[in-house]
């Protein structure tokens, strides 16, 4: 937990802090392993346009098994699917989609949730009552019902998925932040800021939120993993991003009936999503362990 009083004159620079926290990771092999899994997919996703891959949406030769030669040179490392699209290329471009949307959705949910939490916790009173009630209502929805209603009602677009994830996650984030803020608001540096005559907005954004970051980082990692699952699940259920761009969940849904003779088509994207989520969960676990050590 970060209970230290922040003093901007002696605090190390942001870059220095970043390297220090990377150094801290060395204490936990679990965290390193998790981070490597995530970086593996992030690097592949970034390099996707320059890697020598087939077009992920081009119908080439259907039903090729892994490691089979392509008609006009090249190799289908992971085979092709029922429409003749290269699976390796679809998995890598799918990583791009899933990482972009999972990160966007989690960041937006965090911004909304943190603002709600810090307002409810610091201003209290009527604000707290209203925000807590809205959160309770949203939290009592089974999340999947929330997704189904929002997405079937508004349509399956990236923006609506971000909106649905925000509705589903922000109340939980709000609860955590509210709890942390209730604990922090009685600290001396808050009183100091109040005495200096700082505005509530300044205190909330500059004094409270940065000092609540410890547990939030761990929670954010877990939520990234969970949002990744959500986005792939929506794709699987037919509520995901619109075609033709590859989507791991949709890849499973499309090729699942062909499992009896072409199991690799569904197993590859299933393994991809599991490894990425495992990365987030292990990183969160390692970070939690490190934070408990201090």
């Amino acid at each position: 937990m970060t209970a230290d009083v922040q003093n901007n004159d002696t605090a190390p620079s942001a870059i220095g802090k970043f390297f220090k926290s990377i150094g801290l990771l060395r204490e936990s092999p679990i965290a390193i392993f998790g981070l490597s899994l995530i970086l593996f997919w992030v690097i592949l996703a970034i390099l996707a346009p320059v890697l020598p891959l087939f077009d992920p949406n081009a119908p080439l030769e259907p039903f090729k098994f892994p490691m089979s030669e392509a008609r006009d040179g090249g190799l289908y490392w992971l085979g092709t699917d029922h429409k003749g699209r290269d699976i390796l290329s679809r998995v890598i471009f799918g990583a791009q989609q899933v990482l972009i949307w999972a990160t966007t959705a989690t960041v937006v949910a965090y911004i909304v949730g943190m603002l709600m939490g810090v307002v409810a916790g610091y201003l209290g009173g009527w604000w707290d009552e209203a925000i807590s009630f809205i959160s309770n209502v949203l939290l009592s929805f089974p999340v999947i019902v929330l997704y189904i209603i929002i997405i079937t009602y508004l349509g399956a677009t990236g923006f609506n998925i971000v909106l649905a994830v925000t509705f589903a996650s922000a109340p939980g984030i709000m609860r955590i932040v509210r709890g942390l803020v209730l604990d922090l608001r009685t600290r001396d540096y808050i009183f100091a800021a109040q005495t200096r005559g700082e505005s509530s907005l300044y205190i909330m954004l500059v004094e409270l939120l940065p000092n609540a970051r410890g547990p939030l980082i761990v929670d954010a990692c877990l939520r990234l993993g969970y949002t990744t699952i959500t986005i792939a699940m929506l794709g699987y259920l037919g509520l995901g991003l619109p075609p033709p761009d590859p989507d791991w969940g949709k890849m499973i849904a499309e090729t699942q009936p062909l499992g009896s003779f072409a199991g690799h088509m569904a197993v590859v994207p299933a393994a991809a999503i599991s490894s990425l989520v495992l990365g987030f969960n292990l990183l969160a676990d390692g970070l939690r362990e490190i934070s408990l050590k201090d």
């Binding site: 309770n136 209502v137 009592s140 929805f141 089974p142 999340v143 999947i144 019902v145 189904i148 209603i149 079937t152 009602y153 993993g225 699952i229 792939a232 699940m233 699987y236 259920l237 037919g238 969940g249 499973i252 849904a253 699942q256 499992g259 009896s260 199991g263 569904a266 197993v267 299933a270 393994a271 999503i273 599991s274 989520v277 495992l278 987030f280 969960n281 292990l282 676990d285």
Partner: protein
């Protein structure tokens, strides 16, 4: 205690009112769209308006809401657009199928995760603790549609031991329900295990356990008599609250294995735009979620002597 129960009950009722009102506003504010859904896309505007008039849709919005809630309370949700029969005729059998699935899931998940959690939490940092923690992170990282893919590939296509669908066309079959339950347990047990572990580890560091050990009570008895009871309070709430997100897993599993349950019904009705069916399903799902929170709050108070009288 009674006051607490009454207060929780009122807040539960309030949440149900807010949610049902929101649902009604979302689905039935646009009357012409409702008529269009019921009469089909090729119906004319006059037909739709006639239908609205005949079915009491020209009453004020608030009166419509009240009569809708009144009908829902006695189990009358209207007719399904897709199946052309009363919603309740489809809803309850499907719900019963899902109850079987969820019941079997609970029957396997609870003993498994409590045992593993207690074993891991008994000695923090020991080998068994490490093994259980790593195992539960691994399994909670593999979402249901991925693990279902893996297990189908292994047990259905490679080994050929189990059927790949669970449509239950010729009556209930244990072979067909095995994979859906297995997939749900694999994904779900990790969370409860970790909660049990944390709770057990916390109890083991408490003073009364140290006292009991120092008094010379055999270690087995300290665990069974002193630690377990207090360590299992927190997991109890977690297990009941799981009902809320179990539904996502249930939907995925029912779709994957073509099991005719409530989850698949929600998804199908939403994709079809079967307004009355989706309203009914959502109300039932939210009711189960809210009611389980109520039970978990009350149960926690009953189990935990520290907060019983406050």
């Amino acid at each position: 205690m009674l006051i607490l129960a009454a207060r929780r009950f009122i807040s539960m009722a309030l949440i149900m009112v807010v949610i049902s009102f929101t649902l009604f506003a979302i689905f039935e504010t646009d009357k012409l769209a409702v008529a269009g859904k019921v009469l089909g896309p090729y119906s004319s505007t006059e037909q739709r308006e006639l239908w609205l008039e005949n079915n009491g849709y020209n009453e004020p919005f608030f009166e419509r809401y009240v009569s809708w809630v009144g009908n829902a309370l006695v189990g009358d949700f209207g007719d399904s657009i897709q199946f052309k029969v009363p919603v309740s005729e489809i809803l309850w059998p499907r719900l019963a199928n899902t109850a079987i699935l969820a019941g079997l899931y609970m029957a396997f998940m609870i003993p498994l995760s409590l045992t593993l959690g207690v074993i891991a939490g008994m000695k923090e940092g020991s080998f068994q603790d490490r093994a259980v923690s790593v195992g539960s992170v691994l399994t909670t990282s593999v979402p249901e549609f991925a693990s279902a893919t893996f297990f189908t590939a292994i047990f259905v296509f490679w080994l050929g031991w189990l059927p790949g669908t669970s449509a239950m066309t010729s009556g209930f079959s244990w072979a067909e329900i095995f994979l859906p339950v297995f997939v749900l347990v694999m994904y779900g047990f990790g969370y409860t295990t970790r909660m049990t572990r944390a709770s057990m580890a916390e109890v083991m560091t408490s003073h009364y356990i140290r006292t009991a050990v120092l008094k010379g009570i055999p270690y087995r008895r300290v665990i069974m008599k002193h630690a377990l009871r207090n360590a299992l309070i927190a997991p109890f709430t977690v297990i009941i609250l799981q009902l809320n997100w179990l539904l996502s897993g249930v939907i995925v599993v029912e779709v994957f294995f073509a099991y005719k349950g409530f989850g698949k019904l929600i998804l199908d009705s939403a994709l079809f735009g079967d307004i009355y069916l989706i309203e009914a399903c959502t109300l039932v799902a939210v009711f189960v979620a809210v009611f389980s929170q109520f039970i978990s709050d009350i149960g926690y108070t009953l189990l935990n002597p520290r907060i019983r009288f406050t």
